[in-house]
Amino acid sequence: MTVEFRALHKSFGATKALDGLDLTAHQGELLALLGPSGCGKTTALRMLAGFEKPDSGQVLVDGEDISDVPAHRRDAGMVFQAYSLFPHLTAADNVAFGLRMRKVGAAERRSRAAELLELVGLPQHADRYPHQMSGGQQQRVALARALALRPKVLLLDEPLSALDAKVRVQLREEIRRLQQELAITTVFVTHDQEEALSTADRVAVMRDGRLEQCAGPAELYDTPSTPFVAEFVGTMNRLPGRASGDGSVEVLGQRLPVRGDAGTAGAVDVLVRPEAVDATADEDGSARVTATAFHGAVTRLTVALADGTTVKADIPSHRASGLAAGASATVTLPERPVLVEARAA
């Protein structure tokens, strides 16, 4: 089952929620919609669920425009942020709610509900009411409920945001396992980049109602196509540099090739990940380590350059011994193409 957003536009009063969104989720893939709040990711998901109508554009499922199909006739199961279980029904009745709407017989409802609760690991909670369960258990039941009608698409609207960290990690792994087991096309809205990168097949980064980049997690991290993606996903340093306009940039006394838009000339910010920055202890170095933070295998150094720019560098912890706070150092970059952004004057 393929889901396709085509040139979606939607405004709420003066705010533009979607400004021409084009995006495709392929059969059986987990696509994460990632972006800051207000970027339109939830609106896009709600359009797919049928809770919002686009001002213009189309939502296609398997090539068919479903814009006019009412929400309850769409073949989509949805898990909401939190507290969406029906408080007056037990876990089993919640799961069986959709089957009741489809007039499935009581015996079959019961066995299917039991099967689904088994699937999400809560077979012993069938008779519990929502308020008798923890947040994580409630979201598992909500997941079972969303899957009860064997939908073609699974929609997840920040289902983990209300849970505490440990449960969140557990549940996202479980969601991923189930999604792969059932090979169900899934759209997962989140503002948590770690969540998106660790669970999704592809991540679509959105900004101001448009798609910035849609790619696999590794590609998104290693070769972000825009400065926004680069800074939103992971940590990013901004180093002052000077682009020559012929596809190279001078930064930290090195000359490096520019990736992407090579035509930029003049003062630029060079975007580099902390793990790509190398710092070595050097008595004559112009940079100075201002803080260190031990992260196990790596230590993150905060280094002030001669011109006052702060750089974060992740270096292997065994090499960090000579680089305590206050030490002088030299900072270098690897000979690899870098992303640049023209500096705002």
């Binding site: 909401f80 969406s84 709407m101």
Partner: protein, 292 residues
């Protein structure tokens, strides 16, 4: 810990407040009861209570009031529930307007309201005597079941019912419940009836009860329009038989309480942990042989 040292003080204050409040409510009630059973010259007698059932008009007026109350509850809920749901789901900006409209009856005293009603009731038939609407005016004033009282009570109970329903809707996330039900394949109407209303049971019961209490105690409109619901009957009987009218008041108070308890019991959400689940989760807590 501060909490432990304070607890005794808090308990003491609670007791004092409860005692003062209790005295405030119970002393007049006790005096009323005493007045009805201790008749000068006769000593202790329950004749006032036994006389109630025989008093002319008691059953009729009580039944009329209960019927009016039932009709009012149906009308109020039938108006308010769809309006509040629609405002919550479709037009949140209309909610303040709805609140103001529903609160207006608080500002208009019932005497003013009834003055308006009687004006219309007098004016209408004169001008409409040749139209079919004339019959309408006759029908709404039928003394067996004065529809006009239902209309008046509905307006008067709007503020109470609005608050009860609004509080209930605040407590549940109506929009999410609707959307969850719809994504489970429920049409909008079924979503309202099967996912939203069951979770507003307490609020519906509260709104119903407040309306019932209002109708049971309403005197002004009924009396001024010349009908004889329960409250009007009590006042009427009070002029001639003082003991009897107080006894009726005491009884109607108890009746209201009893109805309140019934409503509260019916409106309570089902929070009981099913025995089966409890037995599995904590077998030690469940006695092997249940007494019930």
């Amino acid at each position: 810990m501060a909490r432990l040292t304070n607890r005794r003080g808090i308990r003491w204050w609670r007791g004092a407040v409860a005692a003062v409040a209790g005295l405030y409510f119970l002393v007049p009630l006790a005096c009323s009861v005493l007045f009805t059973v201790d008749v000068p010259g006769q000593g202790f007698t329950l004749s006032a209570y036994t006389g109630i059932l025989g008093a002319s008009g008691f059953t009729g007026s009580l039944l009329l009031t209960l019927e009016l109350a039932a009709a009012t509850i149906v009308l109020v809920l039938g108006l308010l529930v769809p309006a509040l749901l629609a405002a919550r789901l479709g037009a949140p900006r209309l909610r303040p307007l709805l609140e103001v409209v529903c609160s207006l009856p608080l500002v208009v005293p019932s005497v003013a309201l009834v003055a308006g009603y009687s004006g219309v009731l007098r004016w209408g038939p004169q001008y409409l005597s040749r139209t079919p609407l004339f019959q309408t005016f006759v029908a709404v004033q039928n003394a067996d079941f004065p529809v006009v009282l239902v209309l008046a009570y509905t307006v008067m109970s709007l503020p109470l019912a609005y608050r009860a329903l609004d509080a209930g809707m605040r407590a549940v996330d109506v929009r999410t419940l609707m959307e969850a039900a719809r994504s489970c394949g429920a049409s909008p109407v079924r979503a309202v009836f099967q996912a939203v209303l069951p979770n507003l049971r307490g609020a519906l019961m509260n709104a119903g009860f407040l309306t019932l209490a209002l109708v049971l105690g309403e005197y002004t409109v009924g009396a001024l329009l010349g009908f004889r619901p329960f409250a009007v009957w009590i006042v009427g009987i009070g002029g001639s038989q003082a003991q009897l009218s107080v006894a009726v008041s005491v009884l109607s108070l108890l009746l209201t309480w009893a109805l309140l308890l019934v409503f509260a019991a019916a409106g309570r959400p089902r929070t009981r942990i099913p025995r089966r689940a409890l037995a599995k989760a904590a077998p030690a807590l469940v006695p092997q042989e249940s007494a019930s």
